[in-house]
């Protein structure tokens, strides 16, 4: 009997190798490869006057030293601007090695290749770069003054500027609607920088095969297919001569979707040039100063609303700090701008953002990708409306919800994928009632009062979000049943711990009717699947999950056709269970999928006993038809693609109870509750794991993590000693409840769950601290000393 696998908390298939030390991460490969190290700029903004490499030449084991001048055409060009947009009028990307000017601390200037990493770093330390200091531009508000420029040819430091406006049903503009509303509030919100900080940094390892002129690149990336195309283009190699593989990847969270990194171009180039294997594994300081950050925004909000708290007009202006370069375009601020509306129907909305250059590390998506900022803005707004009107915070939200009968709901905006922002499904009122129940919202005031009587300060907060997930353009899946009955599934997108090997196997096993242990899954290996986009935007389950289901259905159809012929039955009477095709109701008439696979491939040569069944003299065959009929292919395999018309929209609501210490201002999270709707669940255990991890990152962003730049553009906390990533001692127990409103947009009805956990956390904690303290919280993260200062500043 085949167990129902879709929807079950199946144990992960990737675990065994990872708990026994047999995982293969980037730096576990290439034992004998040469090592690369980089000389990186110690200055935030400077002109390079000269580079003296002579000191390095003394180092025993040195193989090569390269500066920008040494790079050939293609390799020396600026890195690609991955996602162009008409509003990005002044997009700029870095050179793989700095040419003339460095624009942030950590920008690579010289590449060193040596026998091992110790020696490469020795050599790098002996290279002297002569810099002429330029004025660094640090902080979004200094940058918008435009007095000093990050790029000489970008006036005002403005990379992009975009306005989107949705008038009210009556045709009023947002500003007009705000002004005409019975109540108006205006305020400013601030969010600081954080970063993905996966525990494995970036890394790349390249092997050039001089005999067949082919290149194999391993990269700790979220997109191997796109790295492949970029590397082939940069190095001028034919695409079929380049393969890129993402091995086990030690976390991504967004930072590894950016590509090609300078190192992803330079390491393969050096491997080709030297005819030797070359590897670079990023160290922790490099990751802090040379990869990417996210989050920092300043938001100016004006909101008009009626006596029930219904928002009649919302006018938001966002200043987005995108650092020194814009390889990922305006994806982060455009997501903030469009996802800000959450589960609400807003009267009229206007959003304007400016994406601003500063002499800091570039900003590209980090789990949530602009949504945490948008949710912070909307949810702080809802709380302010409730406070102004003296209404319960959940009542104000409920008054603004899109109702279950209103889907598909068109928000009237253009989303990050260039397509209309139309919500597919959801049930926000139910979600809210589940959350109130889970956290005990209605009973909290009494608990708060009792605590107050003991001198303790408790507060409760909540926040709601809608997350556009599963963005296109497409993913594909390939499913092959081999003559041993095993099922081989591949898809091009990559994995960084999400459990894809398990959930994709669940999908294929369910569709095909085979036991799970017969299915194996490969992701992120261009040798197995060449067409893909990548892993980001909570899209893997939606995109590859559906593509694999569609491919498996093709295989199933073909298996039934072949089996029907062999069993002399009608394909409609057949079922597949436990890897065996049977005539329903006739247990005698059956054939294994393994045998069907043998029969699917007409043979001249038998390689084993089973294969004899498919050879040319084996049995009766029609002499009027060719062995492989027109429109058919040999083999029991199928390939299909899933390309959605637009994104799915997952949603959720979180609530927390916090306690603040009256003396030390320490903030403790006593309870944390999550109601989550990602459509149909493929594996609830894995979805919960994703939520737990997301909430933990959210708590980090709300209470502990920030990138501290000084006025010179030095990142002062570029280590795990000083950047306070939470340990187990800081993370609360997360209570979860699931709501499943299937997506009507895809065959599996799934929506995606990867990022959800992190999105509303800063808004939730801000609300809870505000409730505990009775002090407005308008910037995150908030540390005990900041809360202490807030208390002092607001004390009567």
């Amino acid at each position: 009997m085949t167990t129902k696998l879709f929807g079950e908390p199946v144990q992960r298939r990737e675990d065994l190798r990872l708990i026994t030390g047999e995982g293969r991460y980037l730096d576990d490969l290439g034992k004998d490869a040469l090592a690369a190290a980089f000389v990186r700029s110690p200055h935030a903004h400077a002109r390079i006057r000269g580079i003296d490499v002579s000191g390095a030449l003394e180092v025993d084991g040195l193989v090569a030293v390269y500066t920008w001048e040494d790079l050939p055409e293609g390799v020396r060009d600026p890195l690609p601007l991955l996602i162009p947009h008409p509003a990005l009028t002044h997009g700029r990307t870095a050179y793989p090695l700095a040419r003339d000017v460095v624009r942030h601390v950590g920008e690579p200037v010289v590449m060193v290749v040596a026998r091992d990493r110790y020696l490469a770093e020795d050599a790098a330390a002996l290279i002297e770069v002569d810099y002429e200091f330029l004025k660094p531009v640090v902080g979004i508000e200094e940058a918008v003054q435009g007095v000093h420029l990050v790029h000489e040819d970008v006036p005002g430091n403005v990379g992009a500027h975009l306005v989107q406006e949705v008038p009210s049903p009556g045709g009023a503009g947002a500003r007009e609607a705000v002004d005409a509303a019975p109540h108006v509030l205006a305020f400013r919100l601030d969010i600081e920088r954080s970063a993905s900080t996966p525990l494995e940094g970036r890394g790349v390892y390249a092997r050039w095969d001089a005999d067949d002129r082919s290149l194999r690149v391993y990269s700790s990336t979220q997109t191997s297919t796109s790295v492949r195309m970029a590397v082939a283009a940069k190095l001028g190699l034919p695409l079929p001569s380049v393969e890129v593989i993402a091995p086990d990847v030690g976390g991504g969270f967004g930072v590894k979707i950016v590509h090609p990194w300078p190192e992803e171009v330079l390491v393969p180039w050096a491997a080709m040039l030297l005819g030797r294997e070359v590897k670079w594994a990023e160290d922790r300081r490099e990751h802090f100063i040379s990869s990417a950050h996210e989050r920092a925004q300043v938001q100016h909000v004006r909101v008009g609303f009626d006596d029930e708290g219904r928002v009649l007009g919302l006018d938001v202006t966002i200043l987005h700090d995108h650092g020194a370069y814009t390889p990922y375009g305006i994806i982060v601020p455009i997501i903030t701008a469009t996802q800000l509306l959450g589960p609400y129907r807003i009267g009229a909305y206007r959003v304007e953002f400016s994406s601003i250059y500063t002499n800091t590390v570039q900003v590209t998506p980090y789990r949530g990708a602009g949504r945490p900022q948008g949710v912070f803005c909307m949810e702080r707004t809802m709380d302010r409306i409730a406070a102004h009107l003296g209404l319960d915070r959940t009542a104000v939200r409920a008054a603004n919800f899109i109702q279950p009968g209103e889907f598909p709901y068109d928000q009237g905006l253009i989303f990050q994928d260039g397509r209309p922002l139309i919500y597919d499904s959801g049930d926000y009122p139910k979600s809210l009632s589940m959350l109130k129940e889970l956290i005990g919202w209605d009973a909290f005031p009494q608990a708060k009062e009792r605590a107050a009587a003991e001198g303790r300060r408790l507060g409760i907060g909540l926040a709601c979000y809608v997350e556009g997930t599963g963005v296109g353009p497409y993913e594909g899946g390939h499913v092959q049943v081999t003559s041993d009955g095993r099922v081989h599934v591949s898809t091009g997108l990559t994995s960084q711990g999400q459990g894809h090997e398990t959930v994709f196997a669940q999908i294929a096993a369910t569709e095909l009717g085979v036991p799970l242990d017969r299915v194996s899954v490969v992701t992120g290996d261009t040798r197995r699947f060449g067409y893909a986009v990548g892993t980001f935007a909570s899209r893997a389950a939606v995109m590859s999950g559906n593509a694999i289901a569609l491919a498996a259905r093709k295989v199933r159809d073909k298996a039934l056709r072949i089996a029907a012929e062999a069993l002399e039955a009608d394909p409609r009477d057949l079922e597949i269970e436990d890897g065996v095709v049977r005539v329903a109701g006739d247990p005698e008439a059956s054939i294994s999928l393994a045998t069907v696979a043998v029969l699917s491939n007409p043979l001249r040569y038998a390689f084993d006993e089973e294969a004899k069944r498919a050879t040319q003299f084996a049995g009766p065959a029609s002499m009027d038809r060719p062995p492989v009929e027109a429109g058919e292919e040999p083999g029991l395999e199928g390939r299909d693609y899933y390309s959605p018309v637009r994104s799915t929209f997952a949603s959720g609501m979180h609530a927390a109870i916090v306690e603040t210490d009256p003396d030390t201002a320490e903030i403790r999270i006593l309870r944390y509750a999550v109601v989550h709707d990602c459509g149909r669940l493929i594996n609830p255990m894995i979805v919960e794991g994703q939520i737990h991890g997301g909430v933990a990152q959210g708590v980090g962003g709300a209470l502990y993590e920030r990138m501290v730049y000084d006025g010179h553009g030095q990142l002062l906390n570029a280590s795990f000693m000083d950047f306070l990533m939470p340990y187990a001692t800081e993370i609360p127990f997360v209570e979860t409840a699931h709501l499943e409103t299937p997506s009507p947009l895809n065959p599996l009805g799934v929506k995606g769950a990867g990022e959800a956990g992190v999105i509303p956390v800063s808004a939730v904690i801000a609300a809870a601290v505000e409730d505990a303290e009775g002090i407005t919280v308008d910037r995150m993260p908030i540390s005990p000393s900041e809360l202490y200062e807030l208390r002092r500043a607001t004390a009567p």
Binding site: Q11, R12, E14, D15, L16, L18, I19, T20, G21, E22, G23, R24, Y25, D27, D28, K31, D60, G61, D116, Y118, T197, P198, L199, E200, D248, V249, G250, G251, F253, D283, R284, Q496, G497, Q498, G499, M685, I686, E688, G689, H692, G693, G694, V695, A696, Q697, S719, F720, M721, M725, Y727, A728, T729, I731, F733, V734, G757
Partner: protein, 165 residues
């Protein structure tokens, strides 16, 4: 001229090993790159993340803060050596998988070594003792909830195993 090399002898996962390393070679690099035991991971190289935790004469240490030459003659257990003598998974390894206590798996070897020592010293820890016991290891994926659960589960599995023997 090359660096001066020092001959060291270690017992790693019960197997005597000899290698020659420069004085500055980190134990983590020695294990990973000289002895080929890449299960020990390096996440920060400044002793904060705990990915590189191995057992040195049974006690958890940061192998990225230890020079290989300083542990000449000592016994080391890495994640590759955590299986039971019969080759089956240890209770801690089983519990991590059962409880979905790992996602990307990069921090996992450090947690497994840490928890193995923790439960040896305190076979039935309280919730607070578990959290305290793993509070020197960073995980960016799981939010720790399932790791805490796994430690309790491992304790349970060890108890069952002892009950039987």
């Amino acid at each position: 001229m090359g660096e001066k090399l020092h001959e060291i002898r270690l017992t790693v996962n019960g197997v005597p090993r000899e290698t020659r390393v420069p004085g500055r070679r980190l134990l983590s690099d020695c294990l990973r790159h000289d002895l080929g035991l890449t299960g020990t991971h390096v996440g920060c190289e400044h002793g904060v993340c705990g990915c590189c935790t191995v057992l040195l004469d049974g006690e958890p240490v940061r192998s990225c803060l230890t020079f290989a030459v300083t542990v000449d003659g000592r016994e080391i257990t890495t994640v590759e050596g955590l299986r039971e003598p019969d080759g089956s998974l240890s209770p801690v390894q089983r519990a991590f998988s059962e409880s979905h206590a790992l996602q990307c798996g990069f921090c996992t070897p450090g947690f497994l070594c840490t928890v193995t020592a923790l439960l040896r010293d305190n076979p039935a820890p309280s919730d607070d003792e578990v959290v305290e016991g793993i509070s020197g290891n960073l995980c960016r994926c799981t939010g720790y909830q399932n790791i805490v659960k796994a430690v309790h589960r491992a304790s349970e599995l060890m108890g069952e195993a002892e009950g039987r023997s």
